[in-house]
Amino acid sequence: GESVGLHLPTLSVQEGDNSIINCAYSNSASDYFIWYKQESGKGPQFIIDIRSNMDKRQGQRVTVLLNKTVKHLSLQIAATQPGDSAVYFCADTDVNAGGTSYGKLTFGQGTILTVHP
């Protein structure tokens, strides 16, 4: 992610809407990508990950899309709920030559998601 801190983008949605949170990363060698959710007073919580050999991965109510050509990652949350209100971070890391060991995570600046009932 590009940590250029910090005037966080914000996204405000109505309960039940779908949310899309975007992230740009800068390292063309990045191989592994993670989305985290951080609620006030808590540590980042893992949501979903994706490796560079995929362009889409789905979880429960969440989908991550990866576009390596433009170094862009997005998180889609279906039927957004008030409990989804938090700051969302993308993070990326590269992998060693053998493809077996991941390096340090670099975080994006985060996006504040607010869900209105």
Partner: protein, 114 residues
């Protein structure tokens, strides 16, 4: 659920004092990170370890910060002497080097240096 445990949760100290933060990674995880979070800088990597060996501590001010893993169940981050600009939330995270299910973060230590 397995979790990363950080102590203390909150620490208020006077400038110049030594501060030690502790982290118990999830059993079996061989990669441990220390991050600092501030409003201005976001999440910054301070140091990370693999199999207890430091791999990268380039984000850490070497003159006052030190990070160690005395054993596989304990990681420490020490600041000596502390300064007001060190006030932040410090997070520890652990995971497997193969990146299975990402890395798990602890709840953080909120440090205030006055």
């Amino acid at each position: 659920d397995a979790r990363v445990t950080q102590t203390p949760r909150h620490k208020v100290t006077e400038m110049g004092q030594e501060v030690t933060m502790r982290c118990q990674p999830i059993l079996g995880h061989n990669t441990v990170f220390w991050y600092r979070q501030t409003m201005m800088q976001g999440l910054e990597l301070l140091a990370y370890f693999r199999n207890r060996a430091p791999l990268d501590d380039s984000g850490m001010p070497k003159d006052r910060f030190s990070a160690e893993m005395p054993d596989a169940t304990l990681a420490t981050l020490k600041i000596q002497p502390s300064e007001p600009r060190d006030s932040a939330v410090y997070f520890c995270a652990s995971g497997l080097e193969q990146g299975v299910d990402g890395y798990t973060f602890g709840s953080g230590t909120r440090l205030t240096v006055v």
